[in-house]
Amino acid sequence: MSKEKKDELLIDHNRDGIDRRGFLKCMAWAGTGTLCVMQGGVLKSFSLSRLSELDPAAAAGELRFVQVSDSHMGFNKPANQDVAGTLKAAVDKINSLPSAPEFLLHTGDISHLSKPEEFDAVDQILKSTGKETIFVPGEHDVLNDDGQQFRERYGKGSAGAGWRSFDKNGVHFIGLVNVMNLKAGGLGTLGAEQLEWLEKDVKSRAKSTPIVVFAHIPLWSVYPEWGWGTDDATQALAYLKSFGSVTVLNGHIHQIMQKVEGNVTFHTAASTAFPQPAPGTADSPGPMKVPAEQLRKVLGITDVQFLRGKNALAVVDSSLA
């Protein structure tokens, strides 16, 4: 691999100094163990030491889980030619957390081309956490077969295209599928059947029940031009309007973003495979090449903790380096 200067562009298609295959000029992503929050396009980071203010020793009913996303097993282009290695690094990170998660959520794009050996490889790597992983599919997981393979592998206990809900320690988890039957020119879509299921699922639950929704494509309009949104998410969120605490965890965009809207906190995770450009900073949302020594800094996992008595879940992103 040739040595490139830090700020050198590999291919400058538009002669504008910005290219998603080139090097990122300004890396605002912080290093290990940092809480990253994107507010109005400005990245704010807080070091782990400040999280002691969240009173982690609190009470009974504490629940902790980890979100991983966008492992894209099978991807082998310049942006990352060892996605198995970076997923393994994510697992090492999970295994070295001060307090073990109870389970893992994978918010999709498990595989890159929906190939059996790709799913097998991810299963194999995640097995070494010793924890159960609950999956929702990304658009890369339902290629060629309308998601049949995904449902065969990971659909136990789910309905329809793979949506499901379950409870852990008083928290109600809802896994949604918004990558099926995508329409030309459209965004992600949940569809009538799933929305009907969701309405029934939450209807008679106590409004004080903390809710965690997880789905691949963001349930808020991050950047519609690049397909980063879900056409009918507003309907879904309307069913959750009266719950005191709703956390939405998504993937798909391969970068950390957060938005708070009333009682709902939206959070997107980094990929364990490759980063993608921030909205509008490149001509398309494809894999972004960064200097090799910085790659693991822009990949990561998300550690989520529920503390009874607190409305919002504590969400901590950790990069792989």
């Binding site: 890369h140 329409k183 397909g227």
Partner: protein, 118 residues
């Protein structure tokens, strides 16, 4: 004498028939030669290039994915549908009937294109 006339008329007929066939063949050949029968569309940077294309009936279009992410080519009316195309993979379809054929990438639905056949 009569036999000779018959033979001549038959020969004339055969020559005429053969000539017509040759001329017809030549015209068809010339027509095929003057119109391009295979057209290429490049898939790159999450877009189809050219995005809108007009071709004559009988043209075969070949889409080739030069992007570093897989894409598909799917007609919105169910006329054609590729399997997933990784980098450097291709899909072809021959458009025989005139009409407008909108299509998109079913993995990244914001990617759209149109083929007009006339």
């Amino acid at each position: 004498m009569n036999n000779w006339i018959r033979i001549c008329v038959l020969a004339l007929f055969l020559v005429a028939a053969f000539s017509i066939a040759v001329v017809k063949g030549e015209t068809a050949h010339a027509a095929a030669q003057s119109a391009p029968s295979v057209v290429a569309v490049k898939i790159d940077n999450f877009s189809f290039g050219p995005q809108a294309i007009t071709v004559a009936p009988g043209t075969k279009i070949t889409w080739t994915n030069r992007d570093d992410i897989p894409h598909t080519v799917v007609s919105t009316e169910g006329v054609f549908k590729s399997k997933v195309l990784d980098t450097d993979e291709s899909f072809s379809f021959t458009f025989d009937k005139p009409g407008t054929y909108p299509y998109f990438c079913s993995v990244h639905p914001k990617m759209t294109g149109t083929v007009v056949v006339k």
